[in-house]
Every structure is written in C-alpha cells, then in structure tokens.
C-alpha cells in the first residue's frame, strides 16, 4: 500500500468514526434496532449500493462525501418504524423519513466532527437506481456494509486531505 493510500485510509477512518457511532445510537433510539457491521470493501464505482441515498458533504481538515445508502425495503421500514405508515413504493414520505433519520445522525456526529476540525452538511436525499455520488478526484471510496432487523444499508465514504 502506498503512503498516500495509507494516509487516506487513516483519514477516512478518523473522519467516519463519529458518523458510525451516531448511526448506531440513532438506529437504536429511533428504530429500535442495532445495525451490525457485515464487511468493508473498496469501491470501484461512485454508484451507491442501494436505491436511496442520503448524501452528506464534509469540509475542513479533509474534504469528501458520505453516502448512507438504503435498500428500498429498508427505507420503507424506516418510515414504518418512525411513524407507523406502511409504504409499498418509494415516495415523498419515505424520502422525508430517511432525510430526518440521517439529519439526526448528522446532528449527533457534528460535535465530534468539529473536534476533528471538520464541518458536516445537512443530508440531501437522492433516489432511483443507478444514481451517482461525487467523491474527490483520485479517491477510491470505501463501502461499509450493515445489516439490521429492518434490512441492509451501507455507509460509503471518500475523503481527501485538505489542499494546502
């Protein structure tokens, strides 16, 4: 592994930990389930794994993108667990529920991100199969896979050090 790749990996891991920790606690508090980490992989595409993604921008000591990507059935279960509404397709209510869930995850991660001299944006929701997420150039995003009682999702991240 090259020095640049190792540095990027270390940067990614320090930047993503507050988000992983917030995801676990918000899933437990709001959805009543604990996500289980299933694996980690380097991605060769900027296309998220699943049909709906909450895309979060990171700036500061590092620049990059975090995409929380949920399978459609997982997203519909998020809506059901939050407000008791059963959706049978991806609609505005499902998007709003995923947006609010990830907004709370971002809020919970914010203080720790600021300790790392990082700013974190409000999530934007993108749907449809085959959507792309933009990462800094020459950055290979990593994909952290999770499973949970409500179904699978991934957290996909790519960071580059701040250009001096």
């Amino acid at each position: 592994m090259s020095t640049v790749t190792r540095d990027c990996s270390e940067l990614t891991s320090s930047c993503i930990n507050p988000v992983l920790s917030a995801t676990k606690s918000v899933f437990e508090a709001m959805l009543g389930c604990t996500p289980i980490r299933k694996g980690i992989a380097l991605k060769d595409s900027s296309r998220p794994r699943y049909e709906i993604s909450a895309v979060i921008g990171i700036t500061g000591r590092a620049n990059g993108t975090i995409a929380v990507s949920l399978k459609a059935s997982t997203a519909m279960e998020v809506l059901y667990r939050l407000v008791g509404i059963q959706a049978d397709e991806m609609n505005a209510e499902v998007c709003d529920a995923v947006g609010e869930l990830t907004n709370i995850i971002v809020g919970n991660a914010k203080a720790k991100m600021e300790e790392l001299q990082l700013s974190i944006s409000i999530p934007n929701i993108i749907t449809s199969s085959g959507h792309n997420v933009h990462y800094p150039s020459k950055v290979h995003p990593i994909c952290i896979e999770f499973d949970s009682e409500i179904g699978p999702f991934t957290i996909e991240v790519g960071f580059a050090p701040e250009q001096s």
Partner: protein, 121 residues
C-alpha cells in the same frame, strides 16, 4: 391544551404529534416553517410551541424572536439536532424556554413540557 408543532419534516411532525397524543394532548396544529407558524400563532391561542431550528423560509431562531416580540410568556421549546453549546446559548439569549435534542423519547418531551404547562391526566 393546544400545541403548535413547527418542523419542515412531516416525519418529525408526525412523531411529535403521536407523542402528544400519547400524553393525552389532541389539540395539535402543525406548521412546516416559521412563516406558517407565525401565521397560525397570530390567528389562534396556543399554550406551548415546539419548534425545530433549521427550516426553510424562516428558521426556528427567527421564529422565536418574532414570537417574543409578540408574546414574552408563551413557552417555546426548541427541538433540534443542533446540540452545540454556542447554539444553545444563542437560543437562550433569544428567549427559548427549553431545549430538546433529537432523538428524544416521549418521557423526555413530557418532562420538558411539564416545566411550563400542566399536561392533562
């Protein structure tokens, strides 16, 4: 007991409405942003307002300042993900009654509300 919920997320408004219903509070009005909330506030009497911070058109802090110009006493609880100390201080200086960080449980919401209003048993 009449409550005004202000949040741009329909999901969060429903969560709060359900919490209030569980507490036996059924007179609940909803607004999607500060502009709608101010309009409702001027047309009806509320006992307490639960407001988000980050919203389009008019955010929760601006709404709070507008409400304080009209009513110094109505309890306004800010329910938000904005947990930084500086934000909390800003809200206190603007006259917020209490501050609740998302996610929250119905028990915590009840506890915060009971400091300001009597919840019917």
């Amino acid at each position: 007991m009449k409550v005004l919920i202000v949040d741009d997320s329909g999901t969060m408004r429903t969560i709060q409405r359900r919490c209030l219903n569980m507490l036996g509070i059924n007179e609940v009005a909803e607004a999607e942003d500060g502009v709608q909330a101010l309009d409702l506030f001027e047309r009806a009497n509320f006992d307490i307002i639960l407001s988000d911070w980050n919203m389009p058109n008019m955010d929760g802090l601006t709404l709070l300042k507008e409400i304080r110009q009209r009513d110094a006493n109505i309890p306004v609880i800010m329910i938000t993900t904005e947990a930084e100390r500086a934000r909390v201080v800003t809200a206190i200086q603007a006259g917020v009654s209490d501050y609740l960080i998302k996610p929250f449980t119905p028990d915590v919401l009840k506890e915060k509300m009971e400091r300001w209003v009597t919840i019917p048993s």
